[in-house]
């Protein structure tokens, strides 16, 4: 896994690990903490085409529901099936085992660097 310093981020509190045309996507530990205990994750299906900026899933905690936005356009190549039984992994290891899905893309939009994202969470 790429270190969190080298990941890229969205203003919607998602992290993106993009390499060789496939991006692994999750939510940041900051977002997971703010949501509270994640109890249900709804994700698109493998093979789905997604469009950058649209809602493609939901992350539900005891307290609230967060929407998952596609950071880029592309095709879903994998979703983290383990989260169906263990959604708490999103809290326990947001940047690792708590990953959400992989998207195959042709073009990557401009994303935030780690320093820029940290600035955002400090606001």
């Amino acid at each position: 896994m790429t270190s969190i310093e080298d990941l890229r981020y969205t203003s919607e509190h998602e992290w993106v690990d993009a390499r060789d045309g496939v991006a692994t996507i999750g939510i940041t530990a900051y977002a997971a903490d703010r949501l509270g205990d994640v109890v249900y994750v709804s994700l698109p299906e493998v093979g789905d085409t997604v469009e950058a900026g649209t809602v493609i899933g939901e992350i539900e905690s005891t307290k609230s529901v967060g929407e998952l936005f596609a950071p880029m356009s592309g095709t879903v190549t994998a979703v983290n099936e383990a989260l169906a039984d263990s959604p708490e992994t999103v809290n326990a290891d947001a940047f690792g085992e708590g990953w959400l899905l992989k998207i195959q893309y042709t073009e990557l939009p401009e994303l935030l660097g780690a320093a820029e994202y940290q600035e955002l969470t400090r606001a």
Partner: protein, 400 residues
């Protein structure tokens, strides 16, 4: 991600620094920055159900009504029979508007023959104090908003009693008539009763009340005493499984217990009977009170409200996706089949399935009725159930 609560620099508990040091996350609640969680919502929720949790409720409003006519004044000002309370007895009651709608729900303690403590929701503190001041005019009684001078902790859970019994520095003997010890007096304290005493030399009021569905106590004391009380309780309770618990757990616990929350299940356009709170209103036991004429008229508090003609029910569903506040309820596929609205909901940590409180048309409110809830674009089935969703095993707890 959306729906992240905004940061806010607002009022803070006297324990704020303690919470920060404990790693709490905060939420803006009624103008206060209060702990929403420490370790995690679910762990805190489960700790209260199985052992105990400690809540900082410094944001709640504490309003004193004092004077020879305090009982009569509160009989007029509130919906319940306040003059019928014995000393040291507490009562859940309502502050009604002229239209019969609910301005706030309250717990009122009679702390003396001419002395009452009215505990209000943080968001309604100003309203409650102002309405009480208006309504006691003509009575020999005064209203004092003591919220800034009274702190409140809630110790809740099946092991709350044994933890409190072990609290060093707590002395209730001045208020004990039969010569028993402080631990024995705590054990003997009945549900919705309170006792006064001292903790490390400062006055404390201990009540067997709460908002979690478990046995437990609420502890009223000076803000200066809160830190010592908080720290001591957590130290002596650690072995029994006591953890600090935030507002997230408080909300999930009260929802499982079927208890209403102002702004969700209660409001100005809702009559007590609609909320299942007819028992909190004393139409027969006393004379006139604000809201009485409206209740007797049978008219809705606000005919244009989405609550008009609807009553509070419980909903239970299968799966993991919870109906949440504001979601529409239907009894058919058409938009015109809308029969109600969800006011609170979550995936129940204790029961493992989604539960919700909702207002539905009165004639469709029978338990067993199957309805559908629009969960963000998907109609999911739910069944109307009787409340509460969760009831503790009273054999375990000591409360009467």
């Amino acid at each position: 991600m959306t729906d992240l609560p905004p940061d806010a620099t607002v009022r803070r508990s006297p324990l704020h620094d303690t919470h920060v040091a404990a790693g709490a996350a905060f939420t803006d609640f009624a103008g206060w920055q209060m702990p929403v969680r420490y370790s995690g919502d679910l762990a805190e929720h489960t700790a209260v159900r199985r052992a105990a949790g400690l809540f900082d409720l410094s944001h709640m409003g504490e309003i004193l009504v004092v004077g020879p006519d305090a009982a009569a004044a509160l009989d007029y000002a509130l919906a319940g029979p306040m003059s019928a309370l014995q000393e040291r007895q507490a009562k859940y009651t309502l502050l009604l508007a002229e239209n019969g709608g609910i301005l706030d729900d309250l717990v009122v303690y009679r702390t003396g023959v001419d002395r009452y403590l009215v505990v209000a929701n943080a968001s309604n503190r100003g309203t409650v104090a102002a309405r009480l001041r208006e309504r006691v005019e003509g009575f020999d009684a005064v209203v004092e908003d003591e919220s800034d001078d009274i702190g409140l902790l809630a110790l809740q859970g099946p092991r709350a009693l044994e933890i409190l019994q072990n609290l060093d520095g707590l002395d209730l003997r001045a208020d004990i008539e039969d010569g028993s010890t402080t631990p024995d007096a705590l054990a003997a304290l009945r549900y919705y009763r309170c006792i006064r005493g001292e903790f490390e030399g400062r006055r404390i009021l201990i009540a067997r009340t709460g908002y979690t569905g478990e046995d437990g106590f609420e502890l009223y004391t000076a803000p200066e005493s809160l830190r010592a009380l908080w720290t001591s309780l957590l130290e002596i309770g650690a072995g029994a499984g006591l953890v600090p618990a935030g507002l997230a757990a408080r909300d999930s616990l009260r929802l499982e217990a079927g208890m209403p929350l102002y702004g969700h299940e209660l409001g100005l356009s809702i009559l007590p009977a609609q909320a299942g709170l007819g028992r909190a209103v004393s139409l027969d036991g006393k004379g006139d009170f604000v809201g009485r004429a409206a209740l007797e008229s049978g008219r809705p508090a606000d005919p244009a409200s989405e609550f008009a003609g609807r009553v509070l029910v419980g909903l239970a569903a299968e799966g993991k996706r919870a109906p949440r506040a504001g979601y529409a309820i239907y009894n058919g596929q058409e938009d015109r089949d809308r029969i109600g609205v969800v006011t609170s909901g979550l995936l129940s940590p204790t029961l493992g399935h989604p539960i919700a409180l909702a207002y539905v048309d009165e004639d469709l409110a029978a338990p067993g009725t199957v309805v559908s809830v629009d969960v963000r674009g998907t109609r999911l089935p739910a069944t109307i159930t009787s409340l509460p969703f969760y009831r503790r095993d009273r054999q375990r707890g000591a409360a009467a």
